[in-house]
């Protein structure tokens, strides 16, 4: 039996399904592209951050007098009372007081790198 208008209903149902699929896939593509761009930005920032720390360490190993405040991202931290090393043989100690510095990437968890330097 042929019902008038059945083709129109089928076409509309097909278009509806296709539109839903289209919107879903387009959304996933947009989300993916956003993620890719964001990741690229974060990766670049992390690399610059690591370079800043490495640059500081190399300069310090060579120059001995570089301050971490020369490097980007560094922050001086308050350290607990045990802010010194006592190296010795039991009867004689050399006390080395130190400051603790922190390199940190803003808005990135677990990105802290700490260095210590003689006071």
């Amino acid at each position: 039996m042929t019902r008038s208008g059945s083709i129109l209903v089928e076409v509309m149902a097909s278009l509806l399904i296709f539109t839903i699929a289209l919107v879903t896939f387009a959304g996933s593509i947009a989300f993916s592209l956003k993620g890719i761009i964001s990741s690229e930005y974060v990766t670049e920032k992390e690399q610059l951050y690591i370079n800043a720390y490495e640059s500081y360490m190399i300069n310090r190993a060579i120059g001995h007098s570089v301050s971490p405040t020369d490097a980007a991202f560094a922050a001086v931290l308050s350290v607990p009372s045990t802010s010194f090393f006592k190296i010795g043989d039991g009867s004689l100690f050399r006390t080395i007081p130190f400051d603790l510095y922190k390199f940190e990437l803003a808005d990135k968890r677990d990105s802290e790198i700490y260095v210590i330097q003689k006071k």
């Binding site: 083709i7 089928e10 076409v11 097909s14 399904i17 296709f18 699929a21 289209l22 896939f25 387009a26 996933s28 593509i29 989300f31 993916s32 592209l33 993620g35 890719i36 990741s39 690229e40 974060v42 990766t43 992390e46 690399q47 690591i50 720390y53 360490m57 310090r60 190993a61 001995h64 350290v79 607990p80 045990t82 090393f85 006592k86 190296i87 010795g88 043989d89 039991g90 009867s91 004689l92 100690f93 050399r94 080395i96 130190f98 603790l100 990437l105 990135k108 677990d110 990105s111 802290e112 790198i113 700490y114 260095v115 210590i116 330097q117 003689k118």
Partner: protein, 154 residues
């Protein structure tokens, strides 16, 4: 199989639209899969780099501590302050010192062994609950120049 083939080749109303929608959906699915795959790959790289920073945390503390000890020895110009010459030659060390508590408790221990300010080895041990880094800094006199060698064991 024959029935299936006949189904797709039969001339029926709406078949062209159906096939068009099917192929369009498949294309979109493939493009989406490629995009999602790219996101997963970039996320993996990001996670790997963050993991590298975590591993670097202990390295940084150990390196800076060893370097600090070398700076002190360099400015002192002698090893006398660290103990008697016999004991320093045999090796002296510090107690494990708590350096940071966040994101995890990390301790540093410094060891020194040597005979003069131009001939010594500093061992710096940075340890947390999960990891341990042992770093050595050796200084030897070659000619009239001091040579520093860094080494690392995990």
């Amino acid at each position: 199989m024959k029935t299936l083939f006949a189904y797709f080749t039969a001339k029926r109303r709406g078949a062209a639209l159906f096939i068009t929608i099917l192929i369009g959906s498949l294309l979109l699915l493939i493009i989406s899969a490629v995009a999602v795959r790219a996101v997963l790959n970039t996320s993996n790289i990001e996670a790997w780099q963050t993991q590298g920073i975590k591993a670097r945390r202990l390295d940084a503390l150990a390196r800076s501590a060893a370097n600090m000890t070398a700076e002190v020895i360099n400015s002192d110009g002698k090893l006398d302050g660290f103990g008697s010459p016999e004991n320093v030659k045999a090796g002296v060390s510090s107690d494990p010192t708590l350096i940071i508590t966040d994101p995890e408790k990390t301790y540093l221990t410094l060891k020194l062994k040597g005979v003069s300010s131009c001939d010594y080895t500093v061992t710096s041990i940075a340890s947390s609950d999960k990891d341990l880094v042992v770093l050595t800094l050796s200084c030897v006199l070659s000619g009239d120049k001091r040579s520093l060698t860094w080494g690392k064991n995990r």
